[in-house]
Amino acid sequence: MINLLWVGMIAAAILVAGATGRVELVTQSIFTSAEKAVGIALNLISIMAFWLGIMKIIEKSGFIHLVIFFLKPVAYWLFPGIPHDHTAMNAMLMNMSANLLGMGNAATPFGIKAMEELQKLNDRPDTATDNMCTFLAVNTASLTLIPTTVIAIRSATGSLNPTDIIGTTIVATFCSTAAAITADRFFRYWNNRKSRGRC
């Protein structure tokens, strides 16, 4: 996919430039774009360094447990059939809380741990369970309170108010998460009508 899109864009651009008699623009455009790319990445260092510093503090202080406290009722509803004190539940809570705080890097290890624990509850090891699908639905919908990387890029490209997209992001991410959970619940219901009782 990525390869096709990349080649497609460049090839189409060169063809169109050639057809409209502006081929000399191609080389010029490559140089300016590449230079800009490196410039932005260098600008990005400042704010990324700050954010990941703050994230490390949040990670070390156990601040995440405050978030877990509020997430628990939601998680119990989302993942029926998993004991509340099971390691799988705990790992999923850590993963979701880390995502919520925008700590993508910290979330992945918890997510993999959660999958390993869910796999132990699975009686068909090559097939995903309902709860695995729900867990990944929540993960791919990316419920985030603070989109740290995006804010960093906005400030690196000279935004006057880099954080002003937080509100719209929260609303949009809420929509995509709601859609993911609804779709997942639909499939869950549909499948369970056909074959009873898998969790």
């Binding site: 460049i10 070390k60 509100g167 929509c175």
Partner: protein
């Protein structure tokens, strides 16, 4: 209301996280420096993705190919109110996180981070995730091959997220 939320979330989080960590006896500054180093590495690792994507999109736009695509696709996209400029991002978002981020960056650089398109790209980037990557990593980690409805659900979430981002940004910033 949405704007007020935007202004307060970050200062509030930094304040409460720092005070909480200090009271819990975390060496806040040392920890901060440790994390900040990762931020440096991450920015540098992004350079190849940025160069590749910014060159491709820059060419696509400046050559006039973007205008051509706009003429062809406009009737379909205008039904949903999606500007043609966000199309590469919408296609790339579920597939590759770093490439999508590079496209977002390119859009902000070209249209300005505070333009409607720049904000739309930012909202999309923040509200969706790299579905295919997440599924590959998580299912791959435990050796599951039959993923059932997970992909369909993930892509549905991405599509809804993208449409929601366009709609909300038009409403708040348009």
């Amino acid at each position: 209301m949405i704007n007020l939320l935007s202004v307060w979330v970050v200062p509030f989080l930094i304040f409460s996280a720092l005070v909480f960590a200090y009271l819990r006896g975390v060496k806040v500054f040392d920890t901060f420096v440790e994390g900040a180093k990762e931020g440096f590495d991450m920015s540098v690792r992004l350079i190849p993705f940025l160069v590749g994507m910014m060159v491709a999109i820059g060419l696509f736009r400046e050559s006039g190919a973007m205008d051509l695509a706009e003429i062809i696709l406009a009737p379909f996209l205008s039904v949903l109110g999606i500007p043609v400029e966000v199309l590469p991002l919408a296609i790339m978002r579920p597939v590759s996180g770093s490439s999508a981020l590079a496209i977002t960056t390119e859009m902000m650089n070209t249209h300005g981070p505070d333009s409607l398109l720049g904000r739309m790209a930012a909202t999309m980037q923040g509200s969706t995730d790299t579905t295919i990557f997440v599924l590959t990593v998580y299912f791959g980690a435990v050796g599951i091959r039959k993923t059932r409805h997970a992909l369909a659900v993930g892509l549905t979430a991405d599509l809804v997220g993208i449409i929601a981002a366009v709609f909300i940004c038009n409403m708040v910033f348009g």
